[in-house]
């Protein structure tokens, strides 16, 4: 397992699209290094013969009938938009 110091909080925060102040990054670095040091204990577990499973109670192929039903109207979908116009979400220009 990676050493805790492998975590670069400032870099990962950029990947996660969260701006951090330098002070905040410094505090998080220490706190998350502690957490990562704690999870090092997982290296002691013998997992040689273990298959990972994402869910405790496997429940596969849960389909529902493919039928039309009443759902959000466009108006409802837009009702919480921070900016909207003409039935669209408005964002800063993406393509030059």
């Amino acid at each position: 397992m990676a050493k805790p110091s492998d975590l670069d909080v400032a870099y990962i925060a950029r990947l996660a699209r969260i701006n951090l102040t330098e002070a905040e990054a410094k505090v998080f670095q220490k706190q998350l290094d502690d957490v990562l040091e704690y999870v090092e204990k997982l290296r002691q577990a013998d997992i040689a013969d273990v298959e990972p499973s994402a869910h405790a109670l496997p429940n596969f192929n849960a389909f529902r009938d493919d039928t039309a039903r009443d759902w959000f109207t466009a108006k409802q979908a837009l009702s919480n938009a921070p900016r909207k116009a003409n039935g669209l979400f408005i964002v800063p220009k993406v393509v030059e």
Binding site: L7, I18, A45, I47, F72, N80, A81, P82
Partner: protein, 492 residues
């Protein structure tokens, strides 16, 4: 209006009055509203209270339905159409739900009235409700202490007789731990027993909605209404729902209770330990056989949890990007600036920490070392529990190693806060069900602080742990004790 102190009633007793037409649903809402107005300025359990909506609903319910006319408070992370759903986060401060969660639809179908949205740790991330971006919720037993979390508002409301019952969500103990610290009953159902549709997702493989109530019977009554299959949630199990309230008795003969030998060793408050030991003796005297079981891999549970839960959270919370709903930063110059500043300004510190940790453990080069390894160790924990349930019907432990702690006591060190979840987390990782119920009090600084007992049951065995919990509860008076703030309000 009757002479009775309505808000102090259990759901079962309230229903009896409603069915005999001795009180109307509207009178119930009015009495509850008055109680909330009297105690909530001190407690801070509620984030919003839509009285008009509740009164409108109170004028039409069929009181002969299973929960006809019973108001239920809702953790503000579950969508109730037309009402706010802030997740106690700045990023959703102006959000209005455009649909009902399945549990809300089911509650309404059973005649219940969703009434009030309760405080929580932001996005259910925390164990004290101190991570709410809106306000603190105080423990009704000692206003200088936390109510537990993340469903702290729901727990405090029920404990203070400011709700008859409430819904919470439990990802690592967020129903059971606040129930324990606030002196009430809290049930985390089996993963998939209750639909998560309309619950704002934190860690999708662990989240589960459940009831917080004054008694075990009340928890069973709410479970009867909310459990069951839902085509809208692919993880909701298509299994029959038993009548959870029908099988509640007072006898524990033939019940085998497992006492994990690893659980009562270190780090547990002496008064908590004494209360659990006394409860075990009590259950033994009611006929239960006490069997020692071993769960050695649960020492890894917290480490596994903080990898899996943060990984899933980092993906789930990517949707809060300031585009389609919620808060958006002022004057973004481009999309990256919009995302980065919206999330910087919209999320609190704990949510940021978890997103960063989750992004890291999923990132290229670290996935195998963290996420994959955690999933494998999780499988080991499941095997331990499967072995234990070969021998016993339920496993008994404290819910929390300590009673309610003071504000600020654990906030500076996230790891210390995480370690408080040691007894509750394994149930989420293994998908099994668990219940917390009162089993005594600790005396600290002249105040009585509730202690919670946890019973863990096998998958889909809610009826079994409810039955055991009920038999124990009925042989004690712990559930009848009321915090000073509630006792004072009912005399006023």
């Amino acid at each position: 209006m009757t002479e009775q102190d309505l808000p102090a009633l259990t759901i079962a007793d309230l229903q009896a009055l409603l069915r005999r037409r001795e009180v109307s649903p509207r009178e119930v809402i009015e009495a509850l509203r008055a109680r909330i107005e009297a105690v909530d300025p001190e407690i801070g359990a509620y984030l919003s209270l839509d009285v008009d909506a509740a009164v409108r609903e109170a004028d039409k319910p069929n009181v002969d339905l299973p929960l006809g006319g019973v108001p239920v408070a809702i953790k503000d992370i579950i969508n109730v159409m037309g009402q706010q759903c802030t997740c106690a986060s700045k990023i959703l401060q102006s959000y209005r739900a455009t649909y009902d969660a399945t549990v809300i639809r089911k509650l309404r179908a059973a005649g219940a009235i969703p009434f009030g949205k309760t405080n929580l740790d932001e996005f259910a991330m925390g164990s004290s409700t101190e991570n709410s971006a809106v306000k603190l919720t105080r423990n009704p037993w000692d206003l200088s202490r936390v109510p537990g979390g993340s469903s702290g508002g729901s727990a405090a409301a029920v404990a203070a007789d400011a709700a008859f019952g409430a819904l919470g969500s439990d990802t690592g103990g967020s129903i059971r731990q606040p129930a324990a610290l606030s002196g009430i009953v809290g049930l985390k159902p089996t993963y998939g027993r209750v639909s998560r549709f309309g619950l704002v997702a934190f860690a999708s493989s662990l989240d589960q909605i459940g009831p917080l109530t004054k008694t075990v019977r009340d928890a069973a009554l709410i479970m009867n209404a909310i459990a069951g299959h839902d085509p809208q949630d692919t993880t909701a199990l298509n299994e029959p729902v038993p009548d959870y309230a029908a099988r509640l008795g007072n006898d524990l003969r033939g019940v085998r209770l497992g006492l994990p030998k690893e659980y009562l060793i270190e780090g547990i408050d002496a008064q908590v330990k004494a209360a659990i030991n006394a409860a075990v003796k009590q259950m033994n005297s009611l006929g239960a056989e006490i069997v020692e079981v071993s769960l050695p891999t649960t020492e890894y549970a917290i480490a596994v949890y903080y990898i899996i839960a943060t990984a899933e959270a980092s993906a789930n919370l990517a949707r809060f990007d300031g585009v389609r709903y919620g808060y958006r930063t002022e004057n973004p110059k481009d999309m990256l600036d919009l995302y980065g500043r919206t999330r910087e300004e919209g999320f609190g510190p704990e949510v940021k920490r978890r997103i960063i940790l989750g992004t890291y453990v999923l990132s290229s080069g670290y996935y195998d070392a963290y996420y994959l390894r955690a999933q494998k160790v999780c499988e080991l924990i499941r095997r331990d529990f499967a072995n234990a349930f070969e021998k016993v019907d339920a496993i008994i432990s404290p819910t929390s190693p300590v009673p309610a702690f003071r504000f600020g006591e654990r906030m500076a060190d996230p790891l210390q806060m995480y370690l408080a979840d040691v007894f509750t987390i394994a149930a989420n990782l293994t998908g099994i069900c668990g219940i917390s119920l009162p089993c005594g009090f600790a005396e600290i600084d002249g105040n009585r602080l509730p202690i919670g007992l946890q019973l863990l049951g096998n998958a889909l065995d809610e009826a079994c742990i409810l039955q055991i919990a009920h038999a124990y509860e009925q042989s004690t008076d712990w559930h009848k004790a009321r915090p000073p703030v509630a006792a004072a309000a009912s005399k006023a």
